[in-house]
Amino acid sequence: MKKIIECSTAIAEAVKLCNIKVIPIYPITPQTHIPEEIAKFVNDDEMNVELIYAESEHSMLSAAIGASATGVRVFTATSSQGLAYTFENLFIASGLRLPIVMVNVNRALSSPLNIWCDHSDSISARDSGWLQFYVESSQEAFDTVIQAYKIAEQINLPVIVCVDGFTLSHVYEPVEILEKNKVNSFLPEYKAKFKLDVNKPITIGAVVDQSKFMQFKKQQQDAMLDSIKIIKKVNIEFKNKFKRSYGNGLIETYNLKNKKKAIIAMGSICGTIRVLSGKLKNFGLIKIRCFRPFPKQELINICKNLKELIIIDKNISIGNEGALASEVKSVLFNKKIKIKSFIMGLGGKDVTLKDLEKTLKNKEGWIL
């Protein structure tokens, strides 16, 4: 059924379909509408979950970790300062191999205080061992939440679904809400590989000394790299069932056929790039949907015939460059391709078609 709803509502609708048992929440702009909608569903008896009103994001993710360790499906959502506040728990969740799914509604990090969208919050969590998806539309946000559980539970790693604050989270657009029984057959009941159970006790969170610590980190890295083929597989399964897909699950392209030039970006900005690409017809779009794991080989294949690549970052690693620029350059370091990178849209600065046109002509740098 297609409904015209806010993206946050679409996410809550997806959460409703995933048979989730525990949802710890704490409100923060611009994520607030997601827990609000979920709380409404719970209040109206449309969802049977344990809703935990945490006193902070740190407690929120701690509760999510504890709940997930008991072997149930867990969801939570945050933004910006909230993600920063729970930063240490990100590493704990991934290290304990708990398949939690969290939506991060992207917002700039203070200071200066700013509640609008950029990717600096989730990019700061890049190395925390969570898979990261950046979505472009409400429909993609809805679909990605459902796919995220299927991916996370196969590799025992947590997933962050990144949704641009306001430019996406507060936008009303048509979203196809999937049928419950079809989602159930796509996403079967969660069977945890291990869980806290009083009848069969296990120890979770033991100290690991110098002799074994690296082995566990390598296990995480291997699982993350393995997830590349699982993401592709889930994308195909989703396509077969619901007739919708997002490139190969990792990267999506638009108008790239026979093009020598492309713009590469993440998140809702890709929508604007599509429009410009349709208008000018002289370049294509490469959308990085999955930033962690970073789809290296897939990117090399896609860029094979390109002469020029323009990278747009909605984040800045102060002292160096945008995070996507660093990643893409490191992958294409020995390829004959001209690369320039731009910093745009920080703190919710609108990225217009005119701004994007500048990236085609200007020298690399900031579009202020």
Partner: protein, 86 residues
């Protein structure tokens, strides 16, 4: 040893096998004659290295005692002396 993902220990209680007192630099010496069996040291020992069985304290279990000396500091009867570990 097979390493379970997430450093999970499926058979808890393995500290019985792993002695964890290698870094002790002080050793408590318990004097049975001065001891009144009040149980304070047993209560305060953070590593449960002091046992009371049939209302009688036995020797400190040096496989788990980390030499924190809390037992000596709480003892009212000078029944626990601290010596430097060699």
């Amino acid at each position: 040893m097979e390493l379970k993902i997430g450093a999970i220990i499926e058979n808890p209680g393995n500290s019985l096998k792993n002695k964890r007192a290698g870094w002790r630099s002080f050793r408590p010496i318990w004097d049975n004659k001065k001891c009144t069996q009040c149980g304070l040291c047993w209560m305060y020992c953070p590593d449960n290295a002091i046992y009371i069985k049939d209302k009688k304290r036995s020797k400190t279990n040096l496989d788990y005692c980390k030499g924190c000396c809390i037992c000596a500091s709480v003892c009212k009867f000078n029944a626990i002396q601290i010596v430097k570990e060699k």
